[in-house]
């Protein structure tokens, strides 16, 4: 890790002052910060030594890393990634084996209490052998690295909420970072994968202010997860008008009508997809004709079929209804039969009323 600031690094690469300020302005707007904050961001980035980052990958598919590295140059996320000190990332780093682990240990020692820990993937808590790195179980490594971290960023839904590995019946006993680490500031950046720019903006914020941005109840940055997809969806007017695609190839689908009936989870999903979009702002799943899966929400994998509407129960009700109706009919016939018997008996036991027993004697 060098002592160069981000500003130095940028200038070395021939990026102008004007370009740098533009980057700061974009970061501020992404984080929903007032324009007055732009100089503060610029100052912080220019004068802060490159942030040491340790990246741990556990039970994951590398999709998050893929997403973050597939950015289009020269993007903000690219700028940030070029200018932090990524001291350990076993997928990206050149070093391997004990050299790699040594790099991690050195970074931890040198920047103790200051480095940023990024985690992707969930942590198995069943058999530790389910996932190990250099013979160290994921759980042990997480605890060891987390101890000296200034803050932790849980990247992707697996790290943030357990994700796919935690899906029922959760064979590895997968857990999220926040399930295991409770004494450090944790920021969740869920998504399967998360939007790259969200991540870099979070890092920029941390560098600028030395603390985490404002978070929601699931520790997600409000700036990106403050509103649900449904509220920001360009197809929302069709929902309001009652115009829906009923299949993926009907007229409604071709006309771009709302995908609610096809199981879109937009209403329950908090993410920036509908505004920030993907692939350099090209599109997002709903725009491409498929409903939102709700990938940035906890347990999205177990929240019922992706293709069943949100208002429909997650259980299969038909058998339940049939058996209940049969049981109801059986009990109803019994209770009704008892009623009929009670009535018949009452009629049988009728004591004829004569004029002699109209009064109490």
């Amino acid at each position: 890790m060098s002592d160069k600031t981000i500003g130095d690094s940028l200038r070395e690469q021939g990026i102008s002052r004007r370009g740098f300020l533009k980057f700061c302005a974009t970061t501020a707007s992404l984080l929903a910060l007032p324009p007055a904050m732009i100089p503060q961001i610029a100052y912080a980035l220019e004068n802060t030594p490159r942030q040491s980052v340790i990246w741990l990958s556990f039970q994951e598919c590398t999709g998050c890393t893929e997403s973050l590295t597939r950015s289009h140059a020269p993007t903000i996320e690219g700028l940030i990634f070029d200018h932090i000190s990524l001291d350990y990332h076993h997928t990206l780093q050149a070093a391997a084996g004990s050299a790699a682990e040594r790099a991690r240990e050195e970074a931890m020692k040198k920047n103790h209490g200051k480095y940023l820990l990024i985690v992707d993937g969930s942590i198995p808590t069943g058999n530790p052998g389910y996932s190990t790195i250099a013979g160290i179980s994921n759980l042990d490594m997480l605890k060891e690295v987390a101890a000296g971290a200034a803050a932790i960023v849980a990247i992707g839904t697996c790290a943030a909420f357990g994700g796919l590995p935690k899906a029922a019946p959760n064979p590895t006993g997968a857990m999220s970072v926040s399930d295991l680490i409770t004494d450090k500031p944790i920021i969740n950046v869920p998504g399967c994968p998360p939007i790259p720019i969200v991540m870099t903006a979070v890092i920029a914020h941390f560098i600028t202010f030395g603390k985490l941005p404002q978070l929601d109840n699931l520790n997600r940055p409000m700036a990106f997860y403050g509103q649900n997809i449904h509220d920001r969806c360009y197809r929302r007017p069709f929902y309001e008008k009652g115009l829906f695609a009923n299949t993926f190839d009907d007229e409604g689908a071709k006309k771009g009508w709302c995908l609610y009936k096809l199981g879109c989870k937009g209403p329950t999903t908090y993410n920036a997809c509908a505004t920030t979009k993907w692939n350099d702002g090209v599109s997002f799943p709903i725009e491409s004709g498929h409903g939102c899966l709700g990938c940035s929400e906890p347990q999205f994998w177990d929240g019922g079929s992706f293709y069943k509407p949100l208002s429909v129960p997650t259980i299969k009700v038909h058998d339940v209804m049939a058996y209940t109706a049969i049981a109801g009919a059986a009990v109803g016939l019994t209770v009704g039969g008892l009623n009929a018997m009670k009535k018949t008996n009452a009629v049988k036991q009728h004591e004829t009323v004569t004029i002699d027993d109209l009064e109490r004697k």
């Binding site: 009452a346 004591e351 004029i355 027993d357 109209l358």
Partner: protein, 421 residues
């Protein structure tokens, strides 16, 4: 010696509950609309007269005996049991303040037939010994003497003689094989003997065979008013036996609302089989005569008059158009009362209320509704087709110091008959 007990009452409630009652109690949403349909609420403003509230004892028995949750909760002792004190308290509501008029049954938005339930609730009240003294006395007289007012056949014989003298016609008694058996209400025998004369004249003109019966001349049935099917059966059987022994085709119910209900609708169910004869109200018979050209009248009443619909005739009996057609024959200046026909307001004395002394003050109070209706019309004569209504109307008019003659429709028709056809 047998006696009324709470247990007998409870058993009777249990016996009376059927699927319709269960459907009615299940459906009530406590909307209060039945109160607004009830004379006793509208004229007193006291919510305790809300019809569905009058059925609280019956509801308790239904809930505890015939519902799943009620059975379970009463096993655990969580339900409020019906008590003898409840029944004593409800006597005023089930008897004094319900004339079985059935307005509530027509208004209820979920379709509850509240009168059907009150009628059945009275079965429990009788068996428990909580029926009103006045009605007990009337029932005893009806069973022992033959008439609730204590009228014996000898009294009727005197009236027959008088009628024969006035009309110059023979009034047949105990004749077999005739078309009509005419039965009377004791009010007609004592208060309105003109009715018998009218029948004689009308039958003569229509050229119909008919008879009275010495063993079954009384049509009123206190059993139905007090709410005892056993006593009602005993009384109605007299007429059934007479009609079947005399082999008449049709029994004519007199101008008496509840007598019609008993004979026409409840009778076959009391004896548990269909009749071998028909039952028609005198007004229905007159209208059939009219339609068949057998009723010839002359002259018109010039007085401004209106018709009071007896509840048991219209709402509970389906005789709605007939009296109007008959009035059309003899009245030029007929005006309809507000809410006439199916939605008429009760005189306040039906359903046996007129026999309850304790109810008299309340009955007079609720007559206010009729008073207002009549005042609006400014009529000279009030016509009706029920002797009980007629008495109550006369009493009510007197209490409110209104001078208005009340006439029976049959008599009015008889007065206009063409003499010597």
């Amino acid at each position: 010696m047998s006696t009324a007990t709470f247990e007998r009452g409870y058993a009777a409630f249990k016996e009376q509950i059927d699927s319709p009652i269960a459907a009615f109690f299940n459906s009530c949403v406590h909307c209060g609309m039945c109160a607004e349909a009830c004379l006793f609420y509208t004229e007193t403003g006291d919510p305790k007269y809300t019809p569905i509230h009058k059925l609280e004892p019956l509801r308790k028995v239904w809930y505890q005996e015939y519902t799943l949750l009620g059975r379970l909760t009463s096993l655990l002792g969580l339900t409020e049991r019906l008590t003898d004190a409840d029944l004593a308290e409800w006597k005023h509501l089930i008897y004094d303040s319900c004339t079985l008029c059935g307005r509530c049954s027509v208004v209820c938005p979920v379709g509850n037939d509240l009168v059907y339930m009150i009628r059945k609730a009275r079965e429990g009240m009788v068996a428990a010994g909580h029926s009103p003294e006045g009605q007990i006395g009337a029932a005893k007289r009806a069973v022992i003497i033959g008439s609730p007012m204590g009228v014996q056949f000898v009294t009727l014989q005197a009236q027959i003689k008088h009628a024969e003298k006035t009309t110059g016609l023979t009034i047949p008694i105990d004749q077999t094989g005739v078309e009509f058996l005419v039965v009377l209400s004791s009010m007609e025998i004592i208060n309105y003997p003109e009715y018998l004369e009218a029948i004689a004249k009308i039958m003569h003109q229509a050229d119909k065979t008919w008879t009275l019966c010495s063993s079954a001349f009384e049509a009123t049935n206190t059993g139905i008013q007090i709410g005892s099917s056993d006593i009602a059966r005993q009384l109605v059987n007299r007429i059934v036996e007479a009609a079947e022994n005399l082999r008449v085709k049709t029994v004519i119910s007199p101008e008496c609302g509840h007598a019609y209900t008993v004979l026409r609708w409840e009778g076959p169910n009391l004896i548990g089989r269909p009749y071998r004869f028909k039952v028609r109200h005198i007004i229905e018979v007159l209208d059939e005569f009219r339609a068949g050209g057998k009723l010839k009248t002359e002259g018109f009443e010039e007085a401004r008059l209106t018709f009071h619909d007896p509840c048991q005739l219209v709402r509970r009996g389906g005789v709605i158009e007939q009296p109007r057609k008959l009035l059309g024959m003899v009245a030029r200046n007929f005006v309809e009362m507000e809410d006439a026909g199916k939605m008429n307001w009760c005189c306040g004395g039906g359903g046996g209320v007129s026999a309850i002394d304790e109810a008299e003050e309340l009955r007079t109070k609720v007559f206010n509704r009729k008073k207002i209706q009549l005042e609006k019309l400014k009529v000279d004569t009030l016509v009706t087709a029920c002797a009980n209504c007629r008495i109550i109307l006369e009493e009510g008019l007197e209490a409110y110091e209104m001078d208005l003659p009340v006439v029976g429709l049959t008599e009015m028709i008889a007065e206009h008959l063409v003499e010597d056809k």
